[in-house]
Amino acid sequence: MNKVSKALLIVIGLTGLGTAQAGKVSGEMAAQTCAGCHGTHGYIENSAFMPLAGMSEEHFISAMKAFADGSRPGTLMGPIAMAFSDEEIRAMAEYFAQFPKERGGQQ
């Protein structure tokens, strides 16, 4: 991360994302941002991107953690995972886990 980003991050850290905006981002609100690649509600088939619908919370969280800390290299999932807080990642995990793996019976 270059110096400017680090400085900005510290500033945001000091002001606290929590104080800069009131309230928390819901799992649904956060998870919706994923759909452009991972499909609506995390349903996508035969694609380079993995489906998220029905993924276990544990797996979702460990994947996002691995992307964020670099132990799982990728193209852009690293920065994206870093941009969400642990709480938001947990909320997203819960959100995706509630969907059945198969969309209404189709494979």
Binding site: G23, I44, P79, I80
Partner: protein, 453 residues
């Protein structure tokens, strides 16, 4: 009632005999149903409608759209180079209508009565709304370029920044470029739709020329700007693929070590980027003589692609939803217009601070606003928003992909980009570029499905 509204009304009556709420969005509520009207069936309008219906089938959603089919602008440059066809970028509204129960009125909006909360169409219908979402995309400021107007753009000097006849014109013009000929691509000044887009197009054109036995042809990029989104990656890619030498003014984008990996080519390159500080700004064009006038002088070319400066979509300008900047001011949390109550403006037309004008941004804003409007209609507080803009582009060669990836939050009343890496690193490996190119193709499909299917 128009014919379409009557049909919908009958559908609702029929559905009201069903017990409970079906998955097709036909609800049991035939009366006292909130009505959200959406003007514009592009990425913003479509995504919003689908997601609002997913969030609450009890809300009636109607899209008013001029065209019965949608030509997707993202990736449309690939039609020019023949990589895909016009059919490939043609999207129908069937899924929105049949799967999500979105109503459609194919008509043109000629006016909005903000007090009576009513939209008037060319065919004479008046459609009442509880909430209105306006997503009219972009329009062009032809006045800013001497010698350019709509008719000339349609026939001689296309921008093809909204796909259609101009896209097909560019494809024809490309095939007619003579050996050693010149193509001019003039990207617009900020802000504009799809920041890396014009440069991706320049790369695609260069690649086409290369593959079609015309490696001595040139693509001249005349720019009023000195930076563009993905410039570090794009210029590096062009250096590798098209003999591009980093111009003097762009050297400061790189470290000395990085510059050492990109020595000037001995041969002149296929692409040249004339930056704003070198006089790249386009002042005018002579369509008959095929001459572009820039601050640096006049240049004759065989094919000229000038993308004029952008403004909000015509409808937003006509109905007073835009301010002096030519863009629509909105309350950032809900994208409600600051100039009209119960009207939300999303997508390219809106002022969204750090968010670029892009398909993904429109899609992201649409989804946030769907949740916010659901809350507002239920008398609840809108939630804390978060947005994303993630999108892959080609550097020209279809094996060489790059991307932008952003997450945005509301900080002190403005939409701010979170400070994480946005692009591929300079030392990204070949497989990363290859994967990114593959992801680009997958992204097109996945993204289109998320908006329209």
């Amino acid at each position: 009632m128009t014919a379409i509204e009557r049909r919908d009304f009958l559908k609702l009556l029929g559905a009201s005999t069903l017990a409970g709420v079906s998955l097709n969005g036909k609800t049991a509520f035939a009366t006292a149903q909130p009505h959200v009207v959406v003007i514009g069936g592009g990425v913003g309008g479509a995504t919003f409608s689908k997601y609002l219906r997913l969030a609450d089938e009890g809300i009636k959603v109607t899209i008013i759209e001029k065209n019965r089919k949608y030509l997707r602008p993202y990736g449309s440059s690939e039609v020019i180079t023949g990589h895909i066809s016009m059919d490939d970028i043609t999207i129908t509204y069937d899924a929105l209508r049949d799967k999500y129960g979105v109503n459609f009125i194919f008509d043109e909006v000629i006016g909005i009565d903000f007090d009576k909360q009513r939209v008037r169409t060319a065919s004479g219908s008046n459609i009442n709304y509880d909430k209105l979402v306006v997503a009219p995309g972009i329009s062009f400021d032809f006045d800013a370029i001497e010698g350019l107007d709509q008719e000339i753009a349609d026939t001689k000097i296309p921008h093809a920044w909204i796909p259609g006849k101009q896209t097909e014109l560019m494809a024809r013009q490309l095939k007619a470029v003579p050996k050693g000929g010149t193509i001019v691509v003039a990207p617009p000044p900020n802000p504009y739709r799809c920041p890396p887009g014009p440069y991706e197009r320049a790369g695609l054109l260069a690649q086409w020329l290369k593959e079609h036995g015309n490696p001595t042809a040139k693509v001249l990029v005349f720019d009023s700007k000195n930076r563009f989104t993905t410039d570090v990656n794009m210029l590096q890619a062009w250096h590798r693929l098209y003999n591009f030498s980093i111009p003097e003014g762009a050297r400061k984008l790189y470290t000395e070590e990085q510059l050492a990996t990109m020595p000037d080519h001995l041969e002149p390159g296929m692409i040249e980027w004339v930056m704003g500080e070198m006089g790249g700004r386009v002042l005018g064009v002579d369509p008959d003589a095929m001459v572009v006038e820039t601050e640096a002088g006049k240049f004759k070319a065989d094919m000229i692609n000038i993308i004029p400066p952008h403004k909000a979509g015509k409808l937003a300008l006509k109905t007073g939803l835009a301010d002096e900047s030519g863009w629509c001011p909105v309350e950032r949390k809900t994208f409600e217009s600051t100039l009209a109550k119960n009207v939300h403006v999303i997508g390219d037309s809106s002022i969204a601070d750090d968010m670029p004008k892009s398909g993904y941004s429109a899609n992201s804003q649409a989804k946030v606003v769907a949740l916010q409007i659901k809350a507002l209609l239920a008398g609840e507080e809108p939630g804390t928003p978060i947005w994303q803009n993630t999108c892959y582009a080609l550097a020209g060669n279809t094996d060489y992909g790059i991307f932008v990836s952003d997450v945005f939050r509301l900080v002190d009343g403005k939409i701010r980009r979170m400070p994480y890496q946005r692009f591929l690193p300079f030392d990204a490996t070949e497989i990363q570029y290859k994967l990114s190119a593959m992801y680009q193709q997958n992204w097109m499909r996945a993204f289109t499905e998320d908006c329209f299917a």
